[in-house]
Symmetry: C2
């Protein structure tokens, strides 16, 4: 379950400076990236979201080619060709206090965990089963606070997700839906959500909270390519129950139809198989040129 190898600013390391602002304040960003054939998947989308996060937080954007070189170094030497690459960028070390250093030296942390997706839920095997997988979701009581400046980006302030994920221990449950303070469904603790209805595919806007997943953008692009209407719409929990189908996505899962939301069962086959296949093929296609 441990990270097999980590590079901090390009050098092998298993620890980080105690004054790193990522630790002190969660002052940084991260990406969780699927790896196949020793190459990261959706690399460009991950880097684009990371860049957006850096821009939003005022953290100087790390050099893209440097990140690519470090990822290649890490994955070329890895124990296994497939697994999870975690890429973190923090504002680096600094003096005491919230004020960001005037000349920050951001820190790059790349870690690789070999194997398919470890953990209680055997996700990648399910991916192979495709739409037949019985994905079960719960609903979290923990709410997402609203902050326009932090919405959409994948920053390191993740206590809401930690508290949400701590609400269930049943290993059969893959994720939990989180609502904002207005009781609108926003996302899972680790996924984006989509409802299927007569109008097509709807996903919640992420203006006030939530993370704009890399696969969320891919789902939109694939839906467009397949002429499936895709739009953002505010969703209540009752909309989730009333929908023909529900899907979730993240960078390790791809796009998956949900079988059950708590005790509610969705009918099989509601999710468009062509979309799911197309997203999966792209989301799990390693990028050969970084």
């Amino acid at each position: 379950m441990a990270w097999s190898r980590t590079l901090v600013d390009g050098r092998p390391a298993d620890s980080i400076d105690i004054a790193d602002r990522g630790l002190l304040y969660g002052d940084g960003l991260f990406e969780t990236i699927a790896v196949r054939n020793r190459r990261p998947c959706l690399w460009r989308r991950h880097l684009a979201r990371l860049a957006m996060g850096c821009e939003r937080l005022g953290i100087p954007k790390p050099d893209t080619s440097l990140l690519a070189t470090e990822a290649s170094t890490l994955l070329d030497d890895a124990d296994a060709p497939a697994g999870v690459l975690k890429l973190m960028v923090t504002r680096g070390s600094g003096p005491r206090g919230y004020a960001p250093p005037l000349a920050p030296r951001p820190r790059r942390i790349l870690s690789f965990q070999p194997g398919l997706l470890p953990g209680p839920f055997p996700v990648l095997p399910d991916l192979r089963q495709g739409a037949d997988a019985d994905v079960r979701l719960t609903i979290c009581a923990t709410r997402l606070g609203a902050n326009e400046r932090l919405a959409g980006i994948k920053h390191l302030n993740r206590l809401e997700q930690v508290l949400g994920r701590a609400e269930w221990s049943d290993p059969e449950i893959l994720d939990g839906i989180m609502c904002d303070t207005r009781r609108h469904a926003i996302c899972g603790t680790m996924s984006n959500i989509y409802v299927l209805d007569e109008t097509g595919i709807c996903t919640p806007p992420l203006v006030h909270c939530g993370v704009a997943g890399t696969v969320r953008g891919l789902v939109q692009d694939c839906a467009t390519a397949l002429d499936i209407p895709f739009r953002e719409r505010e969703l209540k929990l009752s909309d989730l129950y009333a929908a023909d189908g529900l899907m979730i996505s993240n960078a390790l899962l791809g796009l998956l139809p949900v079988g059950r939301l708590r005790e509610h069962r969705y009918r099989a086959g509601a999710a468009p198989a062509a979309l799911i296949d197309r997203v999966r093929a792209t989301a799990l296609e390693p990028e050969t040129h970084l």
Copy 2:
């Protein structure tokens, strides 16, 4: 400006495991503690808030006597008798994913920074000047998101404060008022706030956001002892401007009258000197028995 010495789980260290959940998710808590005569001030109040935070986050509470021993070890060997003690408790290292480990091993991190309060604003010298110090505040555009489960405790998810603090660079400005999404004033980036009016002292409730400062509790106790009415009340920015006086507090500042909020000046002497003196004497009185 650097931390002179750090103990991680009781041992000297200047780095922390890359898999610590404090870094990965901000999954932990901290206390910023004034130190005089090699002893921490308001130690019991800091430990009480830390315990409340552990309870709220489901992190096993570190042993109090162990923390006291480690603080004594650190401060006895410190380069200077006065400074700032930072105490962090994280959920410790864990496998990938938001789910908290079933058997977490929380990590204790104690760092000492010698000297008076370093940084752009010479805070402790001002304390000596007492009510004559011209404390200037601004108002932050960054809002505080609402989350009842995180309100009041001093957790490591502090990006809102970082973004708020990044809004001004004028070293003459001590702090910035932060509002919630309903435009109620909640606190400064690093302080609690109090208005003075004909009814006494009012401070915002911290049910949805904000940190319940150790000195905030002390202000309440001292006000009660001095027969000064003290209550929680929702405050708009207009209430701050309309008030007879405004005060801020934190563990390093004690309680200070505010001279100016943006361009608005408060009349000198509005803040009750007896209260300020009493709070300062207690907040900066080292606890000899840990």
